[in-house]
């Protein structure tokens, strides 16, 4: 270790205290980002220490990446530099929870499981059914804008986050928004941090509105012989007066991942499944059972089954964990997160299937009624990355077709394939220049997660 490096560590120890600076071992390797390891993991206690660390990093021209549960560090393009991993696990307090007001203020290091338990005690929740729930922290979920099947009914983080506090790339502590449910005071800077992968600021507090738990819930599965039939059924639900809590369409391969265990032995393999959850007063849930059954029959569903009470939560968990289940089954998978309109969904899915076939890969898709589609590509021969390398640009090309109008991001893929930001983010769009201006305003010296974002930001 050079003298200079030792001096850097000493300075960090002065800021956070000796035990909170780690330079070797599992703490370091757990924070690998696309093959790069940090020189040091620092565990600050509060926003003031984070500000000091970032100021120091800016002076020394060091690159900082904030981390939480380390479940989503693989998302994004490879950073151009990585020196300091900020471990936010000590910022793990619920700072303000007013169940009567349905508002909440939390530090980023709070684990989502713990948070949902706290809210559950008051029969409230946040609609964040996100992957890696056993490890994921609220800060990481917001920074990655993790997809939740509940978005269809409750919106995404952008819709229920009320404000944030954060530390900019210059080490300034700042905030935007507030703690009340309706607010147009000042610029909504916090909206920019959602999904920014730590490239703009280090989040130190997030305020949310919370939601009351529905009195009753019930899940139904309708199975179809084709994608078109399944999506037609979804369209008829969307055009009805019903407003389900979630609607998910799993192709046969996605169904295999999701329906595991005895409770789902009845689900026939090889079919397209539409999973629908109804929520509300018991009388409302009864009405869904009745009407969905009729609509499924009218849409020539092969099967329509209610999910048993005790299997409901297990099924929800497998849906929310879909990307994790896919990665566990195929660690070398390439998983796209796409956004498409209901009308474009059938042709997009068939195009993805065609791309997979051409590239000697298999594809599994899970479509959400909110307009999000997960597409998991797995090479037929698992040793070869060539087929994925061929498929990836084709997916972006398909999305950019005028009749498709889809947006895509490659959330997960083997790091060897990430040879350029475009591999992950697709071709640079006309609004990139505006994003660049935003980045320069928050982080003029490019201290925070440099290179991890679209266009190499």
């Amino acid at each position: 270790m050079s003298q200079h490096t030792q001096a850097l560590f000493t300075r960090l120890e002065e800021i956070v205290g000796g035990p909170y600076v780690v330079t070797e071992g599992a703490e370091i390797s757990a924070r690998e980002v696309c093959g790069m390891l940090p020189a040091v993991v620092v565990r600050p206690a509060n926003a003031a220490q984070i500000a000091e660390i970032v100021q120091f990093a800016a002076t020394e021209k060091l690159a900082v990446i904030p981390t939480g549960g380390c479940s989503k560090l693989g998302i994004g393009s490879p950073p151009s530099r990585f020196d300091i991993a900020l471990d936010l696990s000590r910022l793990n307090q619920v700072l303000a929870y007013d169940p009567k007001d349905l508002t909440l203020g939390v530090e980023p290091g709070v684990r989502i499981e713990d948070l949902l338990r706290t809210l559950g005690e008051q029969r409230q929740f946040l609609p964040l059914g996100v992957p890696f729930a056993d490890r994921a922290t609220i800060g990481g979920i917001v920074a990655a804008n993790s997809s939740s099947p509940l978005r269809h009914a409750y919106g995404a983080v952008r819709d229920f986050c009320l404000g944030m506090e954060f530390v900019t790339g210059e080490g300034a502590q700042a905030k935007s928004g507030g703690r009340v449910v309706k607010n147009v005071t000042g610029y909504d800077l916090h909206k920019l941090l959602i999904g920014s992968l730590g490239t703009l600021a280090v989040i130190t507090r997030i305020n949310f509105r919370t939601f009351p738990m529905p009195q009753a819930q019930k899940t139904f599965i309708a199975s179809f012989s084709s994608a078109e039939a399944a999506l037609d059924f979804c369209r008829s639900v969307a055009h009805s007066v019903l407003t389900p809590q979630l609607v998910e369409v799993a192709d046969p391969s996605a169904g295999q991942l999701i329906f595991s265990g005895e409770a789902f032995a009845r689900i026939s393999p090889g079919l397209w499944s539409v999973i629908i959850t109804a929520a509300g007063q018991p009388s409302v849930v009864d009405r869904y059972a009745h009407e969905l059954g009729h609509m499924a029959a009218a849409a020539s569903a092969a099967e329509f089954v209610p999910v048993e009470e005790d299997a409901h939560f297990a099924l929800f968990e497998r849906i929310q964990e879909f990307p994790r289940l896919a990665l566990e089954a195929a660690p070398q998978a390439a998983i796209f997160r796409l956004s498409a309109l209901p009308n474009a969904m059938p042709s997009l899915i068939s195009k993805l299937t065609a791309i997979a076939k051409q590239s000697h890969a298999d594809v599994a898709t899970l479509a959400r009624a909110s307009g999000i589609l997960y597409a998991v590509f797995v090479a037929e021969s698992s040793e070869s990355l060539e087929s994925l390398a061929a498929a990836i640009p084709e997916v972006f090309r398909a999305c950019s077709q005028p009749e498709m109008q889809a947006s895509a991001m490659l959330e997960w893929c083997p790091k060897e394939l990430k040879t350029a930001p475009e591999v992950v983010w697709g071709p640079v769009r006309p609004d990139f220049e505006l994003m660049n201006r935003v980045k320069k305003s928050f982080d003029p010296q490019n201290v925070l997660a440099p290179g991890r974002f679209a266009g190499g930001i």
Binding site: S176, G178, K182, V184, L341, V438
Partner: protein, 477 residues
């Protein structure tokens, strides 16, 4: 102003699209707020290309530009406080596309809010943000101000309904961000730009979400003899996790003015009423209406009644939406506040407003979105009485400070504009404001676009110096 600029604008735009005579300009000096400012000219572009051309000319002549929809804003957002060119979007008022299958509409900024809902009504759809001014206000204005309305309690504000915008940047470049999809990879520029009050870019096209009309709607009117019982009911509805689509409160003073004007059947001898609406499947509506009735009765509502017909329902809502107008019958002017508080602090806040009303010897009516804690105290005054106006401004400032003290915000839906920009330091530190200023400069480097709005004047280094708004100056001191 340089006559050459007028000639250049005339050459650029359609005939009759440039106004510059004193009597024409007078119509564009004010909006729905109490502030004033005179533009040097007013232009009516027909396309994004026109807007781009105007912006390029404004750069050449170093002249400020202010976007304007219908001028119904309540914080001076559309006022040319530094003079310059006011761009009125009334000629860009076409609904470009209604995409029923995907529940989207693409509109020009000058489309009137209610006109969009009317255009999709036959499809069973509607555009959710419903400001009280929705008969007049434009969607471009809604986007600039991130407007709300009574039904935002259930459906959210404008930002929750915008998926894409076309912008003209301050150098005249036309850029599209987002689109019809629910998300686009990259920073959420749509989410950031909606509500930026016309200080970052000019909006020339908007893609919005359309919602499906609910199967059933029930509108309840709960009548109370005390303000405390009314506000406690609101707190309890929230606490019991009942989520109405709207929950509005009108106090007795306001009610009497409204009833004389609208004849909606509001009782004139009560302390306050709640106007509560539940929507959804008919089973859900019945269950929720029953729960709400129970809560209101527990808090000593002397009557809870449901509108029996659509006509009755519309009349109740007309009373609510035209309440500001009804105030004109009893006072030459009013000054409307827009503070937000945590909903549990409603009872004490209403008591505080009553105290302030007595302290300054002013009539204050309360009519507001109780369900989300968004207050609209209306302070009545006669603008010819300068001493009284000073008291109005001081009272407004005191209400605002109370909102901040209980953990609230300066504005829930009307915007900061030139009315509250000097109050921003009540909420934000100099570091917060410096970052906001830096982001603004990244989009609007020469401060030509809507100068003197949102951020305190002292913050903006290169900004054109203009006199302070009287309201803002008095409130900040």
């Amino acid at each position: 102003m340089q006559p050459q600029l007028i000639r250049d604008l005339q050459a650029l735009l359609a005939p009759g699209a440039v106004l510059y005579s004193a009597e024409d300009l007078m119509l564009y000096e004010y909006d729905g707020s109490v502030d004033l400012g005179s533009p040097r000219c007013v232009v009516f572009p027909s396309s994004a290309h026109d807007v781009s051309g105007i912006v390029k000319l404004a750069n050449r002549y170093e002249t400020p530009i202010v976007g304007r929809g219908a001028g119904t804003g309540l914080s001076g957002g559309a006022i040319a406080r530094s003079g310059g060119i006011v761009i009125v979007f009334s000629r860009m008022n076409r609904i470009l596309e209604i995409d029923e299958a995907n529940l989207r509409a693409v509109v020009q900024p000058g489309v009137v809010n209610l006109d969009l809902s009317r255009a999709v009504e036959h499809l069973g759809l509607f555009f959710a943000p419903d400001p009280s001014s929705q008969k007049a206000c434009t969607i471009g204005g809604n986007v600039s101000e991130n407007s709300g309305g009574p039904h935002t309690l259930a459906y959210g504000v404008t930002t929750n309904h915008v998926t894409g915008i076309e912008l003209v940047l301050t150098d005249g470049e036309i850029v599209r961000i987002g689109g019809k999809n629910i998300e686009t990879a990259g920073y959420d520029l749509d989410g950031f730009l909606v509500g930026s009050e016309g200080t970052l870019a000019l909006v020339t096209e908007i893609t919005v979400r359309l919602m499906r009309k609910p199967e059933a709607v029930k509108t309840l009117l709960a009548v109370y003899d005390t303000l405390d019982d009314t506000t406690e009911s609101v707190v309890d509805i929230t606490v019991r996790a009942i989520t109405p689509a709207a929950c509005e409160m009108l106090d007795g003073f306001t009610l009497r003015a409204v009833e004389d004007y609208v004849h909606a059947g509001f009782p004139k001898d009560c302390a306050a009423v709640l106007l509560i609406e539940v929507e959804g499947l008919k089973e859900a509506v019945e269950a929720q209406a029953a729960e709400i009735t129970e809560v209101c009765r527990e808090h000593r509502a002397r009557e809870v009644r449901a509108a029996r017909t659509d006509q009755e329902r519309n009349l109740l809502w007309r009373g609510r939406k035209e309440a500001f107008g009804a105030m004109g019958r009893i006072s030459p002017m009013y000054y409307v506040q827009d503070g937000v508080i945590p909903r549990t602090r409603l009872p004490e806040t209403l008591r505080r407003i009553e105290e302030i009303s007595k302290k300054y010897d002013l009539l204050i009516g309360n009519i507001f979105h109780a369900g989300d804690g968004n207050l609209h105290p209306l302070i009545l005054f006669d603008e010819r009485d300068a001493a009284q106006f000073a008291r109005v401004v001081a009272a407004g400032g005191e209400i605002m400070r109370h909102c901040v003290d209980v953990g609230g915000a300066l504005t829930g839906e009307h915007g900061i504009g030139m009315e509250k920009n000097e109050l921003m330091p009540l909420i934000f530190t100099s570091d917060d404001l410096a970052l906001m200023e830096r982001v603004r400069s990244a989009f609007n480097p020469a401060s030509l676009l809507n100068p003197g709005k949102v951020l305190p004047m002292g913050k903006a280094c290169g900004e054109i110096r203009v006199p302070q708004s009287p309201a803002a100056t008095a409130m900040a001191t």
